[in-house]
């Protein structure tokens, strides 16, 4: 099983929010709305949405990085023109969110939110800064490994995916109940991007590659 279970008591917020009843597994007719997906167009996105380092008058602090990869279906085919949204903490590990009261500095030059559509090869690409790790109150001395949140649509509403991309070699993996909620180690590793020298831009930014594979739609399964 790739996905985490709903109930994962190490992550305390699941205890009162995980559904307790069995899911109903419907047989969807071919014209069911869930087998189609909303579509989005370039005209709906802003010019600066793909580069999180140029959305303010000054440059954000932190390590500039390029994150790119492909969105693929279960057969390895590119998912073209699909909306990819990202959000993340700044280099100090703080989100530009009123609810984040962790005493690390906000960066006036970094919001940490981006959007793009995949190209004909299923590829997305963002320029950003490497997010910092940050503490949370799940348990004593709890820290989240550095991560970028990703939201992807796909070609069927059933494929809708929100997940988190992590960075290689993070010492916090073993202690993080959200990362560890995925039972299978090989599945967990799918969330870790790969440093890539070919993506790295000389004198400019380190590059990381991370592909996203969507689930089969019920018709394919």
């Amino acid at each position: 099983m790739t996905h985490p279970p709903y109930l994962s008591p190490g992550y305390k917020s699941t205890v009162l929010r995980a559904p307790a009843q069995e899911l109903v597994m419907p047989k969807l007719g071919p014209d069911s709305v869930e087998l189609a997906s909303p579509v989005f167009g370039h005209q709906e996105l802003g010019r600066l949405d793909e580069d999180l380092t140029v959305q303010h008058p000054g440059e954000p602090l932190g390590e500039r990085i390029v994150v790119t990869g492909r969105v693929l279906d279960g057969q390895g085919r590119p998912v073209r023109g699909t909306l990819v949204e990202v959000w993340q903490a700044n280099a100090a590990g703080r989100y530009a969110h009123l609810g984040d009261i962790h005493p690390a500095p906000l960066d006036p030059n970094f919001t940490g939110a981006g959007r793009c559509l995949t190209d004909d090869d299923g590829r997305y690409r963002f320029v950003t800064i490497k997010p910092g790790a940050y503490p949370w109150r799940n348990h004593h001395n709890a820290w989240r490994p550095a991560h970028i949140h990703f939201s992807v649509f796909g070609t069927a509403f059933t494929q809708r995916l929100i997940t988190q991309m992590y960075f290689p070699g993070d010492p916090l993996f073993a202690y993080d109940p959200i990362f560890q909620s995925i039972p299978d180690e090989r599945a967990r590793e799918k969330l870790i991007c790969r440093f890539d020298m070919d993506t790295t831009e000389p004198e400019w930014a380190l590059g990381y590659q991370w592909d996203i594979v969507l689930g089969d739609t019920p018709m394919e399964a």
């Binding site: 995980a18 709906e44 390895g76 799918k190 594979v213």
Partner: protein
């Protein structure tokens, strides 16, 4: 060149929680307003997301996806920038401090042999993967009896999928993640 997963393990990319801090990134002002309120066939859908203790979930994100008023599934963009005419079928709304959400949309027409319904997806802190459900309309009782998906739901739980009518063109649809009257969630 790049393989789907770096270690060659098969299967999709695992889900992770949306977390508590998506509020400045994913919701957008026009998200809940799938159609303009001036449309004579606009409907208002409101509800709350509640946890297993009956407490509001103030950090949930809802998405809806639906056919248009004639039962056609939209194939055009416009879910982010609304032009007031083309129907995108997509809406997004974050819950407020009371766990409340709202959408202004149209009632979808029936698609195939199903009763009119809106697909509803909920993400939240504490949900490691989203929950899928469907909103059906209370006035369509006859169509519900023939709806294949409702037919797969145990009779005593079916009511959790049917919105309550709260007035002319107004509906209420509460989502209970757990506990008494837990909403029926769908696995695909």
């Amino acid at each position: 060149m790049t393989t789907a997963s770096h270690d060659g393990a098969p299967g999709p990319t695992p889900s992770q929680t949306v977390g508590p801090f998506f509020g400045y990134a994913l919701p957008y002002e026009t998200g809940p307003r799938v159609v303009p309120g001036w449309r004579p066939d606009a409907i208002d859908v409101r509800g709350r997301v509640l946890d297993g203790a009956g407490e509001p979930v103030p950090d949930a994100l809802l998405e809806i996806w639906q056919a248009d008023e004639s039962g056609r599934i939209p194939r055009r963009p416009g879910g982010i920038v609304r032009d007031g005419h083309d129907f995108s079928g997509f809406g997004r709304c974050g819950t407020d401090a009371d766990g409340a959400f709202w959408f202004t949309t149209v009632k979808p027409g029936a698609v195939g042999d199903g009763a009119p319904c809106i697909a509803v997806l909920v993400f939240a802190r504490g949900l490691l993967k989203p929950v899928f459900t469907r909103l059906y309309f209370p006035e369509d009782e006859t169509a519900h009896a023939a709806d294949p998906l409702l037919g797969a739901v145990p009779a005593e739980r079916r009511a959790t999928l049917i919105a309550a009518r709260e007035g002319e063109r107004r509906y209420r649809f509460d989502i209970r993640l757990q506990g008494d009257r837990e909403t029926v969630f769908l696995g695909f």
